[in-house]
């Protein structure tokens, strides 16, 4: 039992392993392909992000530019009041512009839309001031600085103030936090090795999603970006950093109309991290599902096994119940008969012995003697009857070896025994057409034929002139059919149902009524069947059929005779 369970389990475990290996390979492959796809995707993505970055930057700067130019116009027209008036009318979008500042030609701040101007502060050294003082170029996005007041990194979108006479009149700028420029990238959560960078034509960083080793304002002249820019204002390249060893996709784009370039760097490690994470989750899922499948399978096997065992047991129980029922029927029949047929002689004996006591007391010894003899005879007959009943009981269990039998010989033996004392025995007719050699249970066949032939001989019809007993035999496949036919008085229909029952007697000639019971028990033990064809006055034919095996040589028998 244990073995069966283990083999099945082992088989299923093996299958599960195979499945898990297949799933792993498949998932790895998938992830591999996926990884490559993702790389390709991410190259495209980097380019998209760069475009997006560029257009976002343009949007922000255009807004700032429009506002600054309008403010400048008002300033040039109406001075500080003009600016103030303008700003009151048109409030700047605070998510883009923190405040507006005006620095005069000498570097002194003259206006600040949100903060108090601190006396003595000069902006002469600022990059935006220097740029506009020294350059005719009109637009400048300053390097990021930590705002004095806000504490946040701020860039200044500065425009030149040119006096009506053409001299340098200072700078007007919109202070903008750098965060809005790169905020979109931070939201992507791509990991610290990836970045979005806004860099000026001067090769200095204006804004970055994360600063890391490269700080704000850092000069990145050494970057491959500048080489790439020479070939195209917009592009993509793969680069492994010598500094941190990380390979990145770089997508860049010149910001149209501004002295700025956007660059998106997507680190492959980040992608790998994601891929690894993805792979791990695939493995986890695969592993879990295999465990679940295996567990389910084991349960299924167990259940299947249990179900099979249950079915077997139910089958066995049913068979046992059927056997029990058969035994019970036999027992009931026996009990019913025994209370008559086995008990009755004892009652007769008791009655006779009581008389004997009375007779001895009264001196009637001859009568007593006679009754004692009778009692002894009844004892003897009863013992024979009991023995015959036991034979029937044993008949169900007999193990009799099969041997080559000569049916004709057996019939003749029985016939001689049966008819030797008769003055006018019936005629014996034989039509034996069965296949030879015949292998069967010799003693059993003899007992069956004895009983059937004895009945045939006994129940003669006195009304008929000639009496015969005919025995036929034939073989059909592996079944032997034998019939014993007589032209005696026959069996009335009312009695036919019970002739095979224990102690069933037709009349005085029936003897104990055990013969046919014994015959049936033997026939059934040999997996055969017996039936009767008869009616009153027509004679009787008993036919029994038993499976036999053809062939020479003995099975089971020990060659002692």
């Amino acid at each position: 039992m244990q073995k069966f369970f283990t083999h099945r389990t082992a088989l299923l475990a093996g299958i599960s392993c195979l499945i898990s290996v297949i799933i792993s390979i498949a998932s790895y492959r998938t992830v591999g392909v996926d990884y490559q796809n993702r790389l390709d995707e991410n190259a495209a993505r980097a380019k998209e992000l760069a475009s997006y970055f560029a257009s976002e930057t343009v949007g922000i700067l255009q807004y700032a530019d429009t506002y600054v130019q309008s403010a400048r116009r008002e300033y040039l027209r109406s001075g500080l009041d003009g600016v103030r008036g303008y700003m009151d009318t048109v409030s700047p979008n605070r998510s883009i512009i923190s405040h507006i500042t005006i620095i005069d030609g000498s570097g002194r701040p003259v206006f600040n839309s949100v903060h108090e101007i601190k006396p003595g502060v000069r902006a002469n050294d600022r990059d935006y001031f220097i740029f506009h003082r020294d350059n005719e170029g009109d637009v400048y996005l300053s390097l990021p600085q930590v705002g004095r007041n806000s504490g946040l990194l701020t860039v200044r979108y500065a425009r030149r103030i040119t006096n009506p006479d053409g001299s340098f009149g200072g700078v007007i700028f919109a202070a903008m936090e750098t965060e809005p420029f790169t905020g979109f990238f931070a939201a992507l959560n791509l990991g610290p090795a990836s970045s979005a960078t806004l860099v000026g034509n001067d090769r200095k960083i204006r804004a970055r999603s994360s600063y890391g080793r490269l700080g704000p304002g850092q000069d990145i002249s050494g970057s491959r970006l500048w080489q790439e820019l020479e070939t195209s204002p917009k592009g993509l390249y793969l680069q492994t950093s010598v500094v941190d060893g990380i390979t990145r996709y770089y997508a860049y784009e010149r910001v149209e109309g501004y002295p700025l370039i956007v660059a998106i760097g997507l680190a492959l490690n980040d992608l790998e991290e994601q891929a690894r994470g993805f792979r791990l989750s695939i493995y986890a899922i695969a592993g879990l599902s295999i465990i679940i499948v295996a567990a389910l399978a084991l349960f299924a096997i167990r259940d299947g096994y249990v179900a099979a065992a249950l079915r077997r047991e139910i089958g066995q129980r049913r068979r046992s119940e059927a056997e029990l029922e058969a035994v019970n029927t036999d027992l009931t029949q026996f009990a019913n008969s025994a209370s008559h047929d086995l008990k009755a002689p004892l009652a007769s004996i008791a009655g006779l012995l009581k008389f004997c006591v009375e007779d001895i007391d009264s001196g009637e010894t001859d009568v007593a003697r006679g009754n004692l003899v009778k009692a002894i005879d009844i004892c003897r007959r009863s013992a024979v009857k009991v023995e015959n009943v036991l034979k029937i009981a044993r008949a169900a269990r007999d193990v009799i070896p099969r041997e080559i039998v000569n049916l004709e010989l057996i019939v003749n033996e029985v016939w001689v025994d049966m008819t030797s004392g008769m003055e006018q025995p019936p005629e014996l007719v034989l039509h034996l057409h069965h296949d030879e050699p015949l292998k069967g249970e010799r003693p059993t066949l003899k007992v069956i034929l004895e009983n059937l032939i004895s009945n045939a001989v006994r129940f003669q019809d006195p009304g008929k002139a000639d009496h015969f007993v005919e025995i036929n035999s034939r073989s059909e496949e592996n079944i032997l059919h034998v019939s014993v036919k007589d032209n005696g008085i026959g069996i009335p229909d009312s009695a036919k149902d019970s002739i095979f029952d224990l102690f069933s007697r037709i009349d005085e000639r029936s003897g104990d009524g055990l013969g046919l019971s014994l015959v049936r028990k033997h026939v059934e033990r040999m997996n055969g069947s017996i039936n009767v064809d008869s009616s009153a006055g027509r004679g009787t034919t008993f036919t029994f059929s038993i499976p036999v095996t053809q062939g020479a040589g003995d099975e089971n028998s020990d060659n002692r005779r």
């Binding site: 008559h340 009755a344 005085e508």
Partner: protein, 137 residues
């Protein structure tokens, strides 16, 4: 008035036992015998059915276990013939059997003709019982 008896039993020893026991009793008259149910019916309930005087019952001791027609079957057939008007008005049957099984006793109870159940062997006590039955009625 002496009561006639018919003993129906296929066993000669059992008939002998009954005969000998009954002969000691003064209550009973003629003791007749039949060895099969068929014989009993043919002899006494057929062409020349037995007749008794109006008040005198006929006592039948009926064995159960007989070949061909058992005791109960014989009584059933007897009943049929009596409804045809054959035989005496009063018939009392006592079952006479070695069996003490409940089925047999129950079956005997269900037959109105059966007035008692005697377990073999027939002895003095059984005679007293029958005598009491008749003295009581």
């Amino acid at each position: 008035m002496k009561i006639p008896i018919i003993v129906v039993d296929d066993d000669s020893t059992d008939r002998y036992i009954v005969r000998r026991r009954l002969s000691r009793s003064a209550v009973f008259g003629e003791i007749l015998e039949a060895s099969t149910g068929a014989e009993f019916l043919t002899e006494y309930f057929d062409e020349a059915p037995i007749e008794t005087s109006a008040d005198t019952p006929l006592l039948v001791l009926m064995d159960i276990n007989m070949p061909r027609m058992n005791g109960f079957e014989t009584i059933a057939e007897l009943d049929r013939r009596r409804s045809d008007g054959k035989g005496p008005k009063k018939v009392d049957v006592f079952m006479y059997s070695s069996s003490e099984s409940e089925e047999d006793q129950f079956r005997a109870d269900s037959m109105p003709l059966v007035k008692g159940y005697i377990v073999k062997p027939f002895d003095e006590e059984d005679i007293s019982r029958i005598e009491h039955y008749y003295s009581a009625s």
